[in-house]
Subunit: 362 residues, 2 copies
Amino acid sequence: MSDNGWTLTTEDVEHIALGAGVLGTGGGGNPYLGKLVVQGAIREGSAITIIPPDAVGDDDLLIAVSGMGAPTVSAEKLSRGNEATVAFRAIEEHLDEKARAVVCGEIGGGNSMTPLEVAARVGLPVVDADPMGRAFPELQMDTFSIGGVSTSPAALADEKGNVIIMARTQDPLWSERLGRTVTVAMGGSAGLAMPVLRGRQLKSTGIWGSYTLAHRIGIAVRRAQREKCRPEQALAPMGASLLFRGKIMDIKRETTGGFARGMAVIQGFAGDSGRVLRVAIQNENLVAWRDERVIITVPDLICILEDETGEPIGTEALRYGLRVCVLAFAADAKLSTPAGLAVVGPRAFGYELEYRPFSTLM
Amino acid sequence: MSDNGWTLTTEDVEHIALGAGVLGTGGGGNPYLGKLVVQGAIREGSAITIIPPDAVGDDDLLIAVSGMGAPTVSAEKLSRGNEATVAFRAIEEHLDEKARAVVCGEIGGGNSMTPLEVAARVGLPVVDADPMGRAFPELQMDTFSIGGVSTSPAALADEKGNVIIMARTQDPLWSERLGRTVTVAMGGSAGLAMPVLRGRQLKSTGIWGSYTLAHRIGIAVRRAQREKCRPEQALAPMGASLLFRGKIMDIKRETTGGFARGMAVIQGFAGDSGRVLRVAIQNENLVAWRDERVIITVPDLICILEDETGEPIGTEALRYGLRVCVLAFAADAKLSTPAGLAVVGPRAFGYELEYRPFSTLM
């Protein structure tokens, strides 16, 4: 990356989308449609540039964008493609101030593509950072909020032209509650612009290098496909560990309260022959039990990939008979502090479990 | 009223609240708490002034206020008292423009008091007009919207400090849908600021003299109480007709989807002995059948009063055994045009009935 930033090629976007799918831990939406939109914009001449966090001034206005909703919905309800841009512009108008750059609200899954789409439309660069290093189901679950960045104002826009601004909320949980309610009323998915932050807040509370990491992961998966090596080997340099290898025997999934919730059951083969892995889902993969024993919990990453290709599988695409390998990555250190675990640890999702790093649980 | 407007006394407020209760047709919220707040503000020195519509400049910015929610909720969930003011200020901040006066979003019931509360807090006059001449359950059901005034932007605020701005909506029904959803998430009641309009729009689409009418009705009811005359006689000069006199025999009511819905059954006595009146409710009284025959529908007013005192009874306060008289008033002419009936006629509420003026149905 030069000082002027890294201007993306369509191949870079391909790799970022693939790597972001791995980091999505099953959620964040399928990157496929967003990838096509971004690649189309590049072919039509848009220069989409990724800049490092320290290229941003401390007082610069930044606005993060993402899509809100259940991946089961966004896989079926086509977006107009400009929802997040409309939300981004609505925040600028509401504040009567122009943003300096676009920030990624969630690197995992399709939400890696949303900032690139917005950047192409508004002509601003995207910062190489995000507040999750993965995907999380709820709006307040990120290092910006954990680090004290306000969740308001925030804007939600749908494909019908409705734009809602959450001008002030009592706390981050109320932002989630009201935002989820509005998203469900909008049809289950919406473009989201939030949080609004200054450069210094991004630098201190964000996770640096998210696009670079997604890009590296994407390149490694493609290389593994060419060289027929195991996904866990290809991704070991990025910190991946093999959790389990098996075939999906059962999948329960319902879309309720704006989320896709459920449980996947995987029957082991190869080194895991005779064992069973159960994975609990709320948009993302949250907790996994091997033969009834917890082996990993949020915020550590549980990534389900096609065993043969290493392609990531979203929770909306899990189905009986798929042969998968399940990889783990350690959560970013900002997520596993006491303040982080209060928001994204297993108890925040209703599980009476203490977080311990997966390396110690296994 | 002088050219400088009519500065309200606590007694004026008493009469307006009483008259607005009659015009509320069962809804708009109970005016009792709002009345105490407004009278308290006057005692503490606030000058609350009602100005005629033609005292407003054509380009002046006006913002209407009301409470949104089911009367069954607002009777039990205490407000902080400043919700509508917070919503009003949020619109001013969002537009970066100060309003010239406060407008009443709904003269019926407690919503007659809301603009007076806001006026006392922000130090602006209240225009003697409203867009209903009564109360209606849904946000788009008013002469402003019927006359083409946009339902966005609009702001909703709750007692917890949450402020939501509907910056743009696809159409008035989407404003209602999103606003209702947000109100339910806020706990079932919220302060609402909308629509935003210019003086010329108020003058052409509003119903003039709403506070004056409520005041006259209130004075007439009090006089009837002193002189022991029948409510229908006292209110005949304001256009009231007696529909029915009887005792409530049955009341079904549930709070669902943010509304109080139900049916009241009244067994006739005196001149209506042997007859039964059924009244359908959605926050307000919508349609009445006498012995299975429709005798009045929205937008005409169906007002249920205590037979002995003429005090209006909100739909949340209807109960077995109450002796009531049911009065009718003709709807304002702006509501019974084809464009008006499309929004507030019986079909808009799901009844397969043609609107005909109650005087021809009876």
